[in-house]
């Protein structure tokens, strides 16, 4: 089959771009590896900084989809051939072959595999979970319980798990984890009013609109305690509680604390799809192994291959508003490119 543009990834970046491209009159095909659209945002509960329900965003983005956009769900590509005449041939694992003029990479990210940080005991100590697992529990409105079946009274959040860390080869900052930790700490305190929440941070990156206000509220209204220090280890005591060791850097003394639950703020790494496309299309990648843009300031959606564009977290960690803006920007670049044919 022939088309103007193939969008890899049916998350909000891919869908937003597809909708706009279709409105501009182009033939669009979306390829999504899961059985559902919406990507990671479908897994989130409430969004920072204003506590909006993630479902709202997903519904808003998906509802503008047009029936004339072809969507292949539960599908992946097996091979892509650059025909060197400004077209690409894409083979799918449903045995379809697509000839397209342009490709948009919107395959996004995966969360960092917390098992790689052995010293935190993820997957070994029962009461160590990741931030996306906590978000899942909050979304399902389940009771937050320790593995021993009790309501936790002390919950710790560990920032920078898998980010800013040479030991796991991820030097970059994943941007969203700090404000997510503040958000989740507030949510925990709301759900469990008799609990204490602690955030163990190296820096607090409250850069965005209303982030600082959220941080203020977390201290003023919800009594979250922030301890500046990177966790060195987590171990388990005889009751299954987690003992953490951290340097209270501002006081200059080591600190030891027993927590009921430890939440690891896992960062973003390029998704398997993103990595595969980088290899298959011979794209340049940056130090975080995300897709490299031709120019960070002025050509953020262009790659080193003509006709191949990138939007969303496939090129770097982003928030939802970043992603949607980036996606719309990609549409304009693609439109200018396709017009020239």
């Amino acid at each position: 089959m022939n088309t103007d543009i193939v969008v890899f990834g049916g998350g909000i970046a891919g869908i937003e771009a597809a909708t706009s491209l279709h409105r501009l009159g182009y033939n669009v095909i979306i390829i999504e590896k899961e059985t559902f659209l919406g990507g990671h945002v479908t897994l989130w509960n409430k969004l920072f900084p204003n506590n909006k329900d993630a479902n709202e965003i997903v519904q808003q983005v998906i509802s503008s989809l047009n029936n004339n956009i072809t969507i292949f769900l539960a599908t992946e590509s097996t091979k892509i051939i650059n025909n060197h005449n400004n077209t690409y041939t894409i083979h799918l694992n449903n045995n379809k072959i697509i000839h397209t003029k342009a490709i948009l990479i919107a395959t996004g990210y995966d969360v960092f595999n917390a098992k790689l940080k052995e010293e935190y005991g993820y997957g070994i100590y029962d009461n160590v979970i990741t931030s996306d697992e906590l978000e899942h529990i909050l979304k399902q409105n389940k009771r937050i319980l320790t593995k021993q079946g009790k309501e936790p009274t002390r919950i710790g959040f560990v920032h920078c798990v898998g980010s800013r860390d040479r030991k796991v080869n991820n030097i970059y900052c994943s941007k969203v984890c700090c404000v997510t930790a503040v958000k989740q700490a507030i949510e925990i305190r709301q759900k469990l009013p008799f609990s204490e929440a602690y955030c163990f941070y190296m820096d607090l990156r409250m850069y965005g609109l209303n982030f600082e206000e959220l941080y203020n509220d977390s201290q003023e209204k919800y009594g979250v305690t922030f301890i500046r220090g990177r966790l060195s280890e987590a171990s388990e005591n005889i009751e299954g509680k987690i003992i953490v060791k951290v340097e209270d850097t501002l006081l200059g003394r080591p600190l030891k604390m027993t927590m009921d639950l430890l939440v690891l703020m896992v960062g973003m790494v390029p998704s398997k799809g993103t990595s595969w496309l980088i290899k298959e299309l011979e794209l340049n990648f940056n130090s975080g192994n995300f897709v490299s843009s031709l120019d960070e300031h002025t050509k953020s959606n262009l790659t080193n291959k003509k006709g191949v564009f990138v939007a969303g977290t496939a090129s770097s960690p982003k928030t939802i508003d970043d992603t949607l803006a980036d996606s719309r920007s990609a549409v304009l670049f693609i439109h200018e490119y396709l017009k020239s044919f």
Binding site: N216, T225, R228, L250, L251
Partner: protein
């Protein structure tokens, strides 16, 4: 053999902040009587401007953190060096009522000694 533990001085004292064992009564008291204490982000501007800190060990930034950790002994020792000039209150970017906090700490410590 020695049964009165007179040799236990041989052991070095642990400088780890044992958060589980520390008593945070002062913090909870302040949260009731001077809730702006919760706003502190330990930026250190108060300590930087403090005149007493030039010639004594008074460090309000450290005291604010120690309140949260429950390090009562340190606070009791250091807080008496403050002469309540008020410069810390002027500079605090979070509008913590630092003078109020200090006066309440002194009041708490005095009443807890009775």
């Amino acid at each position: 053999m020695n049964n009165n533990n007179t040799l236990s001085f041989l052991k070095k004292s642990d400088r780890t902040i044992d958060y589980d064992k520390n008593d945070r009564a002062l913090f909870y008291y302040l949260m009731r009587v001077e809730p702006t204490v919760a706003l502190c982000i330990a930026c250190g501007a108060c300590t930087a401007t403090c005149p007493a800190g030039n010639f004594s060990s008074l460090d309000l930034h450290k005291i604010m953190l120690s309140i949260r950790r429950g390090e009562k002994v340190y606070i009791a020792k250091e807080i008496t060096q403050c002469f309540l000039c008020g410069k810390c209150q002027l500079i605090c970017p979070k509008n913590v009522n630092t003078r109020g906090v200090i006066l309440q700490i002194i009041s708490f410590l005095q009443s807890s000694q009775l």
